[in-house]
């Protein structure tokens, strides 16, 4: 993990909650993680001891990773999509999900995820995810036409069930009550060939009322700790959004989409006074030497210096006024006052209403040894960033709004 990312992850938690928050959370027996959608890759910034015990990882193996790494080949794609939708809409979700331990064994759990809002500006600070293992006996979801696996069929050569045929009832081994028996089954599966591994695990498991209650209770406990410990830093958090996100605040999903773009770029909001930066990529911070909170909320003019050409600045201003894209070569300055030639491309980016929501500025340092690993020329690198940003912003503020319909 690079040191910048390391710092961001530490800072994400420490800047919000007082120093003893970690200690209090560590005392909770539950399995949960806290992740930060504003950091590139939406990494986990806190993991509970309970989680490490259930999943068999060490803390360093989990912090900095995306929650996705605990999913596997048998994880239902639709559930993954529903979680992605919940993140996009910044709402809570409770869903049955197949996760994988470090040793590769899959298990069903009830996943409950909730956003943590900033009281001050309504933005999503973190997501808390609680994992409650669903205990056997499992209750596969039955349907008249559904195909169900069972033990008798497990070792068959064909291992295939089709149409309306059902073999027996539930798989006996899987119905076992004790963890010992369950682990025996899992061990048995691991020696079987690839085709029959993990069978039985494919049927959707429903969590019981008790398990749902347990997840709910865990979330409430965690929120109570987070709220209390945010009071001490003066940066209050809450479980419910108290106000609409303030001006210049990007949604978590937009942050996550933009985080996939690894080149240097910023988004500026033309609807706010002085057109401040509302998003800066990690590569931009590396290029210019500034920290994120030194650039967010500021106009890009801090990049200018004594030898910056005024006619170029005028050209940029004009293209912004006419909502046109432009490419210029401009002398810019880093935080340490060293200068570099910036091959800059600026383009308007529109939201769902078709109106300009942001301007994207893509910076390429001339003569830099950092060649594009995809083999694209500088012009095409500009275009690829603009294209990716346009796709990410396209659905922003979309009409009826999926979460409110």
């Amino acid at each position: 993990m690079d040191s910048q990312l390391n710092f961001n992850i530490e800072n994400s938690f420490n800047s919000r909650y007082s120093y003893c928050a970690r200690q209090v959370l560590d005392e909770l027996p539950d399995s949960f993680t806290i992740s930060d959608p504003s950091i590139s890759g939406h990494p986990i910034v806190f993991v509970s001891k309970g989680f490490l015990k259930v999943f068999g990882y060490s803390k360093d193996e989990v912090v900095g990773k995306n929650g996705r790494v605990f999913q596997g080949p048998k994880t239902d794609r639709k559930s993954v999509m529903e979680i992605r939708e919940a993140i996009r809409e910044e709402r809570s979700i409770q869903i049955n999900l197949l996760n994988y331990r470090k040793d590769g064994t899959p298990f069903w759990m009830l996943f409950h995820m909730s956003p943590v809002f900033s009281k001050e500006d309504g933005r999503v600070i973190h997501f808390v995810g609680v994992q409650v293992p669903i205990s056997p006996p499992w209750r596969p979801r039955w349907s008249a036409s559904g195909a169900v696996r069972n033990g008798a069929n497990m070792c068959d050569d064909g291992d295939r069930v089709c149409g309306n045929i059902m073999f027996g009832s539930c798989r006996r081994e899987v119905c076992s009550d004790t963890p010992v028996e369950l682990s025996r089954v899992l061990a048995l599966e691991s020696v079987l060939d690839d085709s029959s591994r993990g069978l039985g695990i494919e049927e959707t498991c429903e969590a019981s009322y008790l398990e749902k209650q347990k997840a709910e209770a865990a979330i409430n406990k965690i929120f109570s700790v987070l709220t209390r410990h945010s009071e001490l830093t003066g940066r209050f958090v809450c479980a419910k959004r108290h106000c609409l996100p303030g001006a210049g605040i990007l949604s978590s999903s937009l942050n996550i989409s933009l985080g996939r773009i690894k080149q240097s770029f910023v988004l500026t909001d033309p609807h706010l006074p002085d057109m401040p930066i509302v998003y800066a990529s990690d590569a931009f911070l590396r290029l210019t030497g500034y920290a994120r909170d030194e650039v967010l909320g500021h106009n890009c003019r801090f990049l200018r210096g004594v030898d910056t050409d005024f006619s170029t600045l005028y050209q940029i201003k004009e293209s912004i006024q006419t909502e046109q894209a432009c490419t210029v070569r401009i002398l810019n300055y880093r935080k340490d006052k060293s200068s570099f030639w910036n091959y800059l491309h600026i383009s308007p980016v529109r939201n769902a209403s078709g109106k300009v929501a942001y301007f994207v500025g893509v910076q390429i340092e001339e003569g830099s040894k950092n060649q594009d690993r995809n083999g694209l020329c500088p012009e095409m690198r500009h275009r690829s960033v603009v294209g990716a940003v346009k796709v990410a912003v396209r659905s922003l503020s979309m009409g009826a709004g999926p979460s409110r319909s």
Binding site: A147, R160, R383, V391
Partner: protein, 377 residues
């Protein structure tokens, strides 16, 4: 001559205007030198399972994604496109289904058919103008390769078995392109395994959840073989609908499910291993559907992990069939008033009206099982 068709009086755009060269079997792209993206030799679709590859990073843009977006944005910047589709308003139609509507007032309005195209094409020699035009609409080729990692060649002639990516100058969404498999049998009327495999692989390697691929079966008496693709900003309603799995085969890891509670009869194909096997099954199913004159469409989403098969009503007049994105729940409107007044009920009816009936659906499900069975042996 293909123009934009309107369905009845509701001003919905049902068909996209298609570049002439796609309808012209004798069109030859070989002279065009454009970038070539070669897949790595390590195929994602061969018998090796998806399982070992769950670690494909979703955290970073793929090289293929960068290339497509860069090429598309570049053509836009150079004025090849008729309009900027991101200026078209989109919204979610109020209701539980979350149907998506787009207002595109320019679609079809300034589309001027070029009556000479067929003739020129048929004679197999192009005027300078035509050649330049095809050159500027062509983005790049994709082809299989022998290297361990994918490679990008800045300029190349068309290799054997390549897929040509052409921009749609009248885009329906951002990144709208045609994918044209350029094989020796490009006259074929039916979908073939090689083509479907190549485009599915394209979806896997682009590795962007917003990216979706479409295929509309050719209407009777016509021949074409191309796919369409674009970036849809949010999931299509069909992708969020529950499914009921009725076929599950462990060895190939293939699952066939019926999408429940959706107005259009739809099947979902998934496979976590032996992807190639699933493609073979699907191609055979599509062939049988065409034999039975059941119009169908395909939607490939979730980075190639899901393939939806939409089933439309048998014996319909060709003009009545819907395109794949409409089947998925994305509708285009040409007038403001229609866009503003669009209701969920009207969209439900639109899909219901052309959907295959229950009886036909049962037959298709049985057909799928028997074909999948046959291939499993």
């Amino acid at each position: 001559m293909v123009t934009v068709k309107q369905v009845e009086d509701d001003n919905l755009v049902s068909k996209v205007a298609i570049p002439e060269q796609l309808n012209c079997p004798r069109f030859c792209f070989q002279d065009i030198r454009i970038p070539l993206y070669r897949f790595s030799s390590q195929s994602l679709l061969d018998d090796s399972p998806f399982e070992g590859r769950v670690c494909i990073t979703e955290d970073e843009q793929s090289a293929l994604d960068s290339l497509l977006l860069a090429q598309w944005e570049d053509k836009m910047w150079k004025g090849v496109l008729r309009y900027d589709v991101t200026t078209s308003e989109i919204k979610v139609i109020f209701g539980r289904r979350k149907f998506i509507a787009q207002l595109n007032e320019r679609l079809g309005m300034d589309y001027v058919p070029k009556p000479e195209a067929d003739k020129i094409c048929g004679q197999g020699n192009f005027s300078e103008f035509q050649w330049t035009k095809h050159q500027e609409e062509s983005l790049f080729y994709v082809a299989s390769g022998e290297m361990a990692i994918p490679e990008l060649i800045p300029s190349a002639a068309m290799p054997d078995g390549a897929v040509l990516i052409i921009i749609n100058e009248i885009p329906l969404e951002y990144g709208h392109v045609f994918l044209v498999p350029c094989g020796s049998d490009s006259l074929a009327q039916v979908l073939d395994t090689k083509s479907l495999e190549m485009v599915a692989r394209f979806a896997v390697e682009i590795n962007n959840c917003s990216f979706r691929l479409f295929y509309d079966c050719p209407s009777a008496g016509t021949s074409h073989r191309y796919f369409e693709a674009c970036y849809f900003p949010s999931p299509l309603p069909v992708e969020l609908t529950p499914v009921d799995t009725f076929f599950h085969e462990g060895r190939r890891g293939m699952r066939i499910s019926a999408v429940t509670d959706f107005p259009m009869k739809t099947l979902l194909f998934e496979s976590n291993k032996k992807f190639k096997g699933m493609v073979e099954v699907l191609v055979e199913i599509c062939y049988q559907l065409q034999e039975k004159k059941i119009p169908y469409n395909l939607l490939i989403s979730d980075c190639g992990k899901k393939i939806f098969l939409f089933l439309q009503m048998q014996n319909m007049a060709n003009s009545g069939t819907l395109s794949a994105w409409e089947c998925g729940g994305y509708f285009l409107f040409q007038s403001r008033s229609e866009f503003d007044q669009a209701t969920e009920e009207a969209m439900l009816n639109k899909l219901r009206d052309v959907s295959l009936d229950d009886e036909g659906f049962q037959v298709v499900k049985e057909l799928c099982c028997s074909i999948a069975d046959k291939f499993a042996v």
